[in-house]
């Protein structure tokens, strides 16, 4: 009899090798452990072991063989046992349970099990502790370290156990909250949460005093006290995350707020100016939609998952990506996710920032490299397991992300315009429709995620806010919805359960019908003992909410169940504009829909001009041009991100047409494209851009640069300029301070100006306003680290023909030209950071000039005048030239004599926007000149068959070998 199955690989696994390499310790062995809640007899042990292991590559430990099998590790002295904390999603355990239940059927029914990683190591205790900290996250896992001998003993004596969620059996009685208390006490409720009977607090509600007063007034008018569920629900619904109060607030003299005036306003203006509206769905749905061709719509949404990723990088990132996938599933009647995008803004993974959330070196921030690696893997597992290609992304490093990383996850979806004759982007829950919850079960995970994403990361940040993703459960659910239910029109509305859980999804959807009644006791739970308010606001993942007409309920549930997906009716939509929640027949929430959605006090914001932080003078190091190029190429923000591209499956669905790694020399491209339909040659081009490094100097210009780059990259890839849409994701800091709000207003104003100038509409967006860290450094000094204001612009465009798609690789004999003027704009550039500061200006986009370049480029590309092209961005022309050479493995000769206006460095490294480096056959020049005015381009050199890049100025020739440049460009990022 035993209660554990433990399995180890016969040969060293890849994981073991990388662990050994990372910790410079050859004595590391990993055992996969499964701990059962009941004892297994010998027969069951043998049978189950066989089911979950591989005879050829693995050995199963038994009491008999354990000494012998582990004899080659007998000089190991420590064991690290890593388990999930009770209640944390354990995907492996779920799979194992399914295999056992399927195979043993009824003979082995009720049992629990937990998966465990057991690491055998030889080393000193302090090293082991370090390794274990790198392998586990104490927020979601328990780490036990004990001597190897004890492990053997435990094994023989059966002393492993799983810990179950032990929640006291609670009998629920309706809890009413007295709000007739002092302002201080009221504030405390907002900050720390509702007080339990034992005086403990539930965790932050993120409600300010004004909001609580509005709630008090409402209940005063309806002459009763609020219940705890009502307050929790209002906190979720009114959170910054859900209501975007700052974007909708009156700000200075802008009555309607910056969203209405500058973002939505831009789109409305563009639609009015253009006669060819290609927007299908704007701002109101889970994603924004545009027309792809006459039969199909594509949608795009980009979300952030910053705070969860700071606490649990892997979990935060995986739930970020599968979460935004659900936004696609929840677009219209349900779009199929066809591409993922990512953008990470991280601290230097090679630095040890030593930040603490509490005094005396307590509650440390995770190390920067742990955060970076966890985020990268989280999206890998989420994207790859879901079968959605992840072609497009980027990573940017800056010390100011040490307190909070930014994790942007995006998804593109596709949906037929009409389903059974009805417009697919229209949906409406009707009174009488049943409320159906499909997918995963509800647990304590992610409680208060929405309210706390509105707050700064400080000691009171709740740890239950982390969630673990389960992409397979979601994939199963998604397949049923997209392939079976949707096309038969079996439901009238659908939305995802994200921030705020059921309270948000049902609350939002009920606007379509009027109101809702939910019976919370019907919601399937992961374990017993959850309070009703917890069920109502839990952010357990992988769930969708559907409105199903009564006649279809049976059919829908049957379909879900047949595919191994749970689906439950938990209430119904009603006509009356009331939000009603019951728990075992007791009414615990009854609010007017109007108050629920609009009752929050509107903010009135004031801005003030900030002090501009000037770039610090840094002496320019004297070195050769070739050396400078090497330094820039190998700097973290320019160096190739190939290691991410190769671990993210970008080929699945067989749609990849412009890949992330471009040319024989595999240069990490700044735009990619997919061809989503087998029977249409149209493609979707994707790109994105953000310039946090420009923000403090001039937020207006920063936003202009982001829009220009995201737009330009699509033009360069071959997209039709009339079919480009953009998305805005504002990640700001300290958004309660007037100077930060000033920057916000300026950036938003630029969004309007440039979007309207380019006639590229915003179709969707999201904001995250408090990306600040308040804590302590290692000396105990209190510190605040704010991210630089970051505006990510994601662009999505349609490429009409395969022949319009461009490449970045020039050919022998091509001439090289720069389209667009170069100005002396080195301020805040990569050059000024790496090489040194030169008195200069910040990049400013001149939209008139830019548009002329783009329209002419588009014309020339369609006429096949252009042979290759690359957008010029970080590191300027010099880096664009080098990337072209690395990608094509072709020599380039660059003539710098023309540039007497500037110094060579200014010409090559200025980050002037709106420029494209192109190559073309010499004999196309005549046709090219028919399109471009002489002042709009500069011929700078040619492509040769040599293996060097040659720069010639008046005095000398400087040469660098392409293979050497490639080496610098492909260097590993230190710490990753």
């Amino acid at each position: 009899m035993t209660n554990t199955i433990q399995i180890l690989s016969i040969e060293k696994t890849g994981k073991e090798s990388s662990l050994q390499k990372e910790h410079n310790n050859k004595s590391i062995k990993i055992i996969d452990g499964y701990f059962f809640s009941t004892n297994l007899d010998d027969q069951k042990f043998t049978k189950i072991s066989k089911l979950i292991s591989n005879d050829v590559s693995q050995t199963i430990l038994t009491k008999k063989n354990v000494n012998k099998v582990l004899s080659s590790y007998s000089n190991f002295n420590w064991v690290v046992e890593i388990k999930f904390l009770p209640g944390v999603t354990d995907n492996i355990a779920t799979t194992v349970k399914e295999i056992i239940k399927d195979n043993l059927k009824s003979s082995f029914k009720s049992f629990e099990l937990g998966s465990t990683k057991i690491i055998l190591i030889k080393g000193r205790k302090e090293d082991i502790t370090k390794i274990s900290k790198n392998e586990a996250n104490p927020l979601i896992q328990t780490i036990k370290i004990y001597p190897f001998k004890k492990y053997l003993n435990n094994f023989k004596k059966n002393q492993f156990k799983i810990e179950k969620v032990k929640l006291p059996k609670k009998k629920y009685s309706k809890k009413e909250i007295n709000l007739n208390i002092s302002d201080d006490q009221l504030s405390l409720i907002g900050k720390l949460g509702i007080e339990e009977n034992d005086k403990s607090r539930r965790g932050t509600l993120g409600l300010d005093l004004e909001s609580l007063k509005a709630i008090r007034n409402y209940f005063f008018t309806i002459k009763r006290k609020p219940t705890d569920v009502e307050i929790e629900t209002l906190a979720q619904t009114w959170s910054e995350h859900c209501k975007h109060k700052i974007f909708s607030a009156k700000i200075d003299d802008i009555q309607e707020g910056i969203f209405k005036k500058y973002i939505k306003g831009a789109t409305e203006k563009i639609i009015q100016l253009r006669k060819d509206n290609f927007c299908v769905s704007l701002f109101t749905d889970n994603a924004g939609g545009i027309e792809f061709n006459k039969d199909w719509i594509i949608c795009h949404k980009v979300e952030t998952h910053n705070t969860p990723s700071a606490l649990d990088p892997f979990g935060g990132a995986i739930t970020g990506i599968v979460g935004v996938n659900r936004d696609c599933l929840g677009f219209g009647k349900g779009a199929k996710p066809i591409a993922n995008t990512y953008a990470y803004y991280l601290a230097d993974p090679n630095k040890n920032y030593q930040l603490y959330r509490q005094k005396n070196n307590k509650d440390p921030m995770l190390p920067a490299n742990f955060i970076a690696k966890g985020i990268i893997s989280g999206v890998r597992v989420g994207g790859n397991c879901s079968g959605i290609p992840t072609p497009q992304g980027n990573v940017y490093f800056d010390d100011r992300f040490a307190g909070k990383p930014l994790v942007f996850c995006g998804t593109v979806g596709i949906i037929p315009k009409k389903i059974k004759g009805k417009l697919s982007h229209m949906k409406k829950a009707n009174p009488g429709d049943n409320i159906l919850m499909a997918g995963g079960r509800v647990g304590k995970d992610g409680i208060h995620g929405a309210t706390f994403s509105s707050e700064e990361l400080d000691p009171n940040s709740p740890v239950s806010a982390v969630q673990i993703g389960d992409p397979i459960t979601q994939k199963k659910m998604s397949d049923v919805i997209i392939r079976e239910l949707r096309d038969e029109n079996l439901y009238s509305s659908i939305t995802d359960n994200g921030a705020g859980g059921l309270s948000s999804s049902i609350g939002e959807m009920a606007k379509e019908s009027g109101g809702f009644i939910v019976n919370l006791e019907k919601v399937p739970l992961k374990y017993n003992g959850l309070y009703p308010w917890e069920i109502w606001v839990s952010e357990s993942q992988e769930r969708m909410t559907l409105a199903v007409p009564p006649a279809n309920v049976k059919k829908v549930i049957k379909r879900f169940n047949a595919r191994g997906v749970e689906a439950t009716i938990i209430g119904k939509f009603i006509k009356k504009e009331k939000a009603i929640v019951k728990y075992n027949k007791t009414e615990i929430l009854n609010l007017d829909m109007e108050f629920l959605h609009e009752g929050y006090p509107k903010l009135n914001l004031k801005t003030s001009f900030p002090k501009i932080k000037k770039e610090k003078k840094k002496i320019i190091k004297k070195s050769s041009l070739i050396d400078k190029l090497h330094k820039l190429l190998s700097s973290p923000n320019i160096v190739s991100k190939e290691f991410i591209a190769t671990q993210y499956d970008h080929e699945v669905q067989a749609t990849s047409i412009i890949k992330p790694l471009q040319g024989e020399g595999r240069v990490f491209g700044n735009a990619t494209a997919i061809k989503p339909l087998f029977d249409d040659e149209k493609s979707i081009a994707l790109s994105q851009a953000a310039y946090p490094q420009y923000a403090e100097t001039n937020p207006y210009d920063m936003a202009g640069c982001s829009i220009d780059t995201a737009y330009k990259n699509l033009i360069v890839s071959g997209a039709n300029s009339k079919k480009i849409a953009i998305l805005d994701n504002f990640c700001w800091c300290s958004s309660d301070e007037p100077d930060r709000l000033y920057q916000l207003k300026e950036a938003a104003k630029a969004c309007y100006d440039y979007a309207v100038a380019y006639q590229t509409p915003f179709i969707s967006g999201k904001d995250s306003m408090f990306n600040d860290f308040k804590g302590f450094d290692k000396t105990g000094k209190s510190v605040k680290i704010s991210i630089p204001p970051t505006l990510l612009i994601s662009s999505i465009g349609v490429v009409d023909k395969i022949s319009h798609l461009t490449k970045i690789t020039p050919e022998d004999g091509d001439i090289l030209l720069v389209l667009g003027a170069t100005r002396n704009e080195l301020q805040d550039s990569v050059y000024s950071k790496i090489i040194g500061y030169e008195k200069s200006k910040n990049p400013v986009v001149n939209s008139k000039d830019a548009l002329r370049t783009y329209r002419n480029f588009e014309k020339a590309n369609k006429l096949r005048i252009i042979n290759s092209a690359i957008g010029i961005d970080l590191g300027g022309l010099g880096i664009a030239i080098t990337k072209m050479a690395i990608a094509s493995k072709k020599g380039l000769t660059i003539d710098l004599k023309l540039k007497n206006k500037f110094s060579v460095d200014q010409f090559l490294f200025s980050e002037t926007q709106s420029r494209i480096l192109v190559s073309m056959k010499k004999n196309k020049l005549a046709n090219f000149k028919k399109i471009f005015k002489a002042s709009d381009y500069t011929i700078i050199g040619k492509c040769t068959s040599s293996d060097v890049i040659e720069f010639k100025d008046n005095k000398k020739i400087m040469r660098g070998k392409i293979s050497d440049f490639a080496k610098s460009y492909k260097q590993n990022i230190k710490g990753l």
Partner: protein
């Protein structure tokens, strides 16, 4: 000519796999494994059974293991019968891992799995294009093909084969595909030509009849010319190398 393409529980390449078969002339459908378990007899209506790539059960307990166990419990006899007939089975990537875990390939002792697919030597997921050469051209899937340029995308693609078995695999000519380098010679384990460190650069195995092919690279993702990296710099054709595999299936029944 009919093809049945498996789906469910995280398999995710069924659409493009079916499409490739359809373009070369097959009729076919995608079937959820639970529907096939409900009615396994429908296998009789098909000449080709394809297990596409994906992440069945999220690779938990080893890639392909959980799905293989589900098939073993519920469909093993039917699938074995299918493999013994004049019919074709292909497993691509996760499908390859499932076939190997089922022991349908190389199926030398006809009982338990004899080969394992373990984690890549690099320890990381590898999505990249590789060149492979055909080693067993008596398999109907691989006839008249010499080399192929195809993408791989997997975390566990390293063939692990006990020495004695490897000898008989070679003696029986069951190695389907092997990774080669830029000089068209065997990769000899060298990364990235051999992306996972597979023994003898093995990228695919067949059973003795050659009608069952388990391959790690993805032919359906190299089906059209525009799938190939840097296709703009290459000569214009309609199809990529993956097309050849599907055409071979068609020829077998033609």
């Amino acid at each position: 000519m009919n093809v049945l393409v498996l789906s469910g529980y995280g398999i995710n390449c069924e659409n493009e796999t079916l499409h490739a078969f359809e373009v070369v002339g097959f009729k076919g459908k995608i079937i959820h494994i639970n529907d096939l378990i409900q009615n396994p007899k429908q296998l009789n209506n098909y000449q080709v059974f394809a297990i596409p790539g994906g992440f069945s059960y999220g690779d938990d307990t080893g890639s392909g293991n959980a799905m293989a166990k589900k098939i073993m419990t519920n469909l093993y006899d039917q699938l074995t019968d299918f493999s013994l007939k004049d019919k074709l089975i292909i497993g691509i990537c996760n499908g390859c891992q499932i076939l190997i875990n089922l022991g349908l390939v190389p199926s030398l002792n006809k009982k338990d799995p004899e080969v394992a697919l373990i984690e890549n030597k690099s320890g990381s997921y590898e999505c990249r294009w590789v060149d492979v050469k055909v080693s067993n051209n008596k398999s109907p899937w691989l006839e008249n093909i010499s080399t192929l340029n195809l993408p791989v995308a997997h975390q566990e693609g390293q063939f692990m084969i006990p020495i004695n078995l490897l000898k008989s695999i070679k003696a029986n000519n069951l190695i389907g595909l092997q990774y080669i380098n830029h000089r068209k010679k065997l990769a000899k384990g060298q990364f990235p030509f051999n992306p996972n460190g597979s023994k003898d650069d093995i990228a695919a195995l067949t059973n003795q009849n050659g009608n069952v092919l388990a391959m790690m690279p993805h032919p359906e993702r190299a089906f059209y010319n525009y799938h190939i990296p840097n296709w703009q710099s290459k000569t214009l054709k309609k199809f990529g190398d993956g097309y050849k595999i599907f055409m071979n299936a068609k020829k077998f029944f033609a």
